[in-house]
Symmetry: C2
Subunit: 609 residues, 2 copies
């Protein structure tokens, strides 16, 4: 019973129905015939039911029967095969990106459903979302033949998909991969040779075939990322009649991980016997020795970065809700402020409330950041007005590194507080929080470590379109403050957000000054802390924006209404976050401006001690 | 190979030989005939060798063959029985508190040896140190008969000891325990009835008998902590001829923990068949219905609180040194500041250096805080001058909650950075850092949760001796600043320490004001953050004090000397900590002064969402 699905849907509905302007999304041609905002409740309730009844009962299978590797084969928990088929066949998974399909969901909504699925079984969900991402690449860059070959069986749960980037000598520096591709008589097909590691869902008996979206360098291509191309490399070659033949993709081992024990992480040897072939996606520019692979793969990578943030939120939220329920039941101690009232549920102790409120507020901020990212993805994809489309695309660029790194950094310390709230039981695997910590730890590492995310933010996103994209991003916060800072009851909160915005601009100026002064090492020294400050600024904006809605509703409904506690809780989330978390932005400003160079001066030998 | 002993002893030697005035301790009668400061190197080197050759090879046994429970018996990893005997027989364990014994070590030195032992096998070490604590209680409060009955076999590794406080309904509120004691014909012996949970080392086949130091309430005693007495309750009753008989102490189960899998955590049913007896330690005051148990147990509890801080430091340090070694080997990426130089060891990347330097600096600060606590324990114990003795005892009181809570809070986030430094391998159990995270998580919970520690600090230690103790504690920092703030090259660091001290006094004043204004709930709302600030202030003082020594040595020896990197590294530790960590003290000041009441206003129902 270590993973207990305790998800609460009210907050998810608030985000989609009351906060984000989802009516804009539902008005696009792609959706207007199928859905409206009135369908959100039904959809979420239906998924919640499926999660409780179908997915959650498998949650512990990865812990009880972890993925194992025997005689070259990978066995996933037995329940996963049927579950995978069920999810894909019933439209809760990869068909939601089927451009030909009917009634597909906006990404914003799909992300919410995936959040619930990931909470119900964090070991299982990656098989689904990676297939969704792989399908997206084939749809975007595959020709009709390739689409016909692979998509139907990826949609119906017969096959699954992966992304193959990392090699044992090339992880963060993907431009250094050694995998090679050699031309064959068919210009669409290449012989592939190489090896990959850390491939999530890289093998398993949950499906009949694994479709790898595989980065390799065509013979003669340029070094670095420029020369990389993207191939569809199936574990079993798909013949024209639909039958399968071996394709010389061998699993050489799996990782024994701290968590996510039902999710396979495979090492692959590809083409060791000269028998592996793959379909090239897009084209190769032989004259310039240039492949399209990195740019193509970034479509999936950005999607998985957002998914990673969402994974972190879902695992930490599930831990928080379990902890909250436990603290409401567990009796221990007396209130410091009223000891004579006798023993009390621990939820009444100040530090327990602080731990829970910190979780609630931070997770709502993270969910807000991710939801905004998803919303802008939908706008960027479906909007026809070029200005709106461009603006939304710019917001996606700015938000992606934050949405990946901030939740995956915070999850570790938030789950720490959930464990702490359980006391000694939190350390016991019979309770669900220890596993949550073990499951979540990979999220700050995979899909580009959080250092890579911070370099993307400061090194690339700050300067995008000569700085115009990020200026527009900050202006959304500035405009919000300008329009609402007079709101009664939120004076201190708006003052803090305003101060954080000013601080943030000071941070940018200080980093800019270091670069101009020839001190470029200070940027990566501070970049992770600056990324956190960015997220706290934007998260503060999201929570305060939500609080304005919640305040109106709470006043309108009154204390006796059954929804009052929900709205009042949103007010407390915003207050806690703006007054206890957001001040970190000016703390970071002070650190950045100090410009301490101890990190830069440190050299390998000092770490011998 | 998941737990790899990679301890570095140079820092340990620095603390004992170059920083703390250990010559004061060695000059006490108890030690002067046996040891001098010149023996430190030999002692540490010898222990290091024993750890490498004898203890470290068993490190993985707890992971491979976790403690298990079968037919009422608890089986620990097979190697632990011989290892326990070896450690105890050879004088590395509990004999070091044998007041009759020759050549026992000062607590400060013993703590250092235990730090190494804990790093070598964190699952094994608790069996030893808890026996040491139990022995200490029997020595302090047992009569000669009880001492003769139990101590020899606890010293020679035949039996081990535990502390039995927690019950299923009483953990943090130990005053609510239900265990009862009933008089027998022998006034020294009571019948015991009750149950205990979470008993570390509570059962196991590593020894022939387990000696429980057991809290229970004598029939008719007052409720709360006042009525509690302390008993020696052996698993097997020790007859006068030394033979053993069953004593109705049954193990009902063990916990399946996130880590420390070789350390047993037992639930005990005591006296269910009316057959359990225990020896009362000290006396029971029937007239006032008052026991001495809580005051007595605090001797062991304070010792274990310090040990807990030391456990956290040792597990996190071992993870840090493993990560540092990995980062010096692993090649990945190019330097942002010099990409043309080609691929580089990841230790050269700024964020990797930042993660390692944060670990190094924080762990050195934590070790400094613990070492100071140990030093003052020795002075308080052995010093004859009553003023010095009283001062040292006051310092121990002030430092204990900090020394327990700060390292055990920090270990979780520091090991997170060590995992991050390993990249994807950090998530794999074949590497030593994932286990370090799993092992360390209990330390913030047991021996009084870190919230309890923070209440002890703000609620009790701040006001001890009408505030004189804590004033003296702060004055050590103030005097240090006054005497050294002109030191060239440390202007900013001293300014920060000074600012932090002023901020800290503002924090105390603000909390005092809230109490006076009838807002007592704000104290526990902020207490954990204030405890962290206290540790950062004192840790900053320790590191800067060490840096002054290191600076002189580095200048004296010059860059070519083989010790230069060690001393220069100490300078960088101090700089990093004072300029990147200590500023949190005034960040906490700002939060405390804001006095946000969202936590106080939160009520159970808001956590339904």
């Amino acid at each position: 019973m270590s993973s207990t699905y305790s998800y609460k849907t009210r907050e998810l509905k608030f985000v989609l129905k009351e906060w984000l302007p989802m009516e804009d999304i539902f008005s696009y041609d792609r959706f207007k015939e199928y859905y409206s905002i009135n369908d959100i409740d039904t959809l979420i309730d239906q998924v919640d039911k499926v999660m409780k009844e179908v997915v959650a009962p498998t949650a512990d299978d990865g812990e009880k029967t972890p993925v194992h590797f025997e005689d070259g084969k990978v066995y996933v928990p037995k329940s996963f095969r049927g579950l995978y088929k069920y999810i894909q066949e019933n439209g809760w998974g990869s068909t939601n990106v089927d451009e030909e399909g009917e009634g597909i969901l906006p990404f914003t909504v799909l992300n919410t459903l995936n959040e619930m699925m990931n909470a119900a079984n964090p070991s299982f969900n990656p098989y689904v979302v990676l297939t969704t991402g792989a399908v997206g690449l084939i749809q975007s860059f595959g020709n009709e033949h390739v689409k016909q070959l692979f998509l139907p069986k990826m949609f119906d749960g017969t096959w699954s998909g992966t992304m193959c980037l990392t090699e044992s000598t090339a992880g963060s520096d993907v431009g250094d991969i050694l995998s090679k591709a050699y031309p064959t008589d068919d210009p669409r097909i290449f012989k592939i040779k190489g090896s990959k590691i850390f491939i999530t869902g890289g093998d398993g008996d949950h499906v009949d075939n694994i479709i790898h979206l595989y980065l390799a360098r065509i013979e003669g291509a340029a070094p670095g990322t420029k020369g990389i191309s993207l191939f569809v490399v199936p574990k079993y070659w798909v013949n024209d009649d639909g039958s399968l033949s071996p394709n010389d993709v061998e699993t050489t081992g799996i990782e024994h991980k701290m968590g996510l024990k039902g999710s396979s992480t495979a090492a692959l040897a590809v083409g060791d016997n000269d028998g592996c072939r793959g379909w090239l996606l897009g084209t190769y520019d032989a004259e310039n020795q240039a492949g399209q692979g990195m740019a193509q793969m970034f479509q999936m990578m950005n999607e998985e970065r957002l998914n990673t943030g969402m994974f972190a939120v879902s695992v930490a939220s599930n831990a928080y809700w379990n902890a909250a329920a436990y603290c409401k039941e567990r009796i221990q101690g007396r209130l410091l402020t009223n000891p004579k009232a006798g023993r009390t549920q621990i939820v009444n102790h100040e530090d327990v409330k602080r731990m829970l409120l910190l979780n609630k507020a931070t997770l709502e901020a993270c969910r807000g950041i991710i939801a905004k990212s998803c919303y802008y993805i939908d706008v960027a994809h479906y909007e026809k007005d070029p200005d709106k489309k461009r603006f939304a695309a710019a917001m996606v660029e700015c938000l992606t590194p934050i949405a990946k790194a901030y939740p995956s950094d915070e999850a570790w310390s938030l789950i720490c507080e959930s464990i702490q709230a359980y006391g000694g039981y939190g350390y016991c695997e019979e309770y669900p929080v220890a596993q949550a910590a073990r499951d979540c730890k990979i999220f700050s590492i995979w899909e580009g470590t959080n250092f890579i995310q911070s370099l993307d933010l400061l090194g690339r996103k700050w300067g995008l379109a000569k700085g115009a994209a990020f200026a527009a991003f900050l202006k959304t916060v500035e405009d919000f403050i300008g329009a609402n800072q007079g709101t009664a009851g939120f004076e201190k909160e708006f003052a803090n957000l305003n101060k954080a915005l000013a601080s943030y601009r000071e941070i940018m100026a200080a980093i800019g000054k270091y670069m101009a002064e020839g001190k470029p090492g200070l940027m990566p020294t501070y970049s992770r802390r600056v990324l956190t400050a960015t997220a706290q600024l934007y998260g503060g904006y999201c929570l305060l924006d939500q609080a304005l809605i919640a305040k109106r509703k709470a006043e309108e409904l009154g204390k006796e209404h059954y929804e009052y506690n929900f709205y009042n809780g949103k007010l407390l989330s915003a207050r806690y976050y703006l007054r206890n978390v957001v001040p970190n932005v000016w703390a970071v400003e002070e650190l950045v401006k100090d410009g301490d160079t101890s990190v830069i001066e440190a050299y390998p030998e000092v770490f011998d001690y």
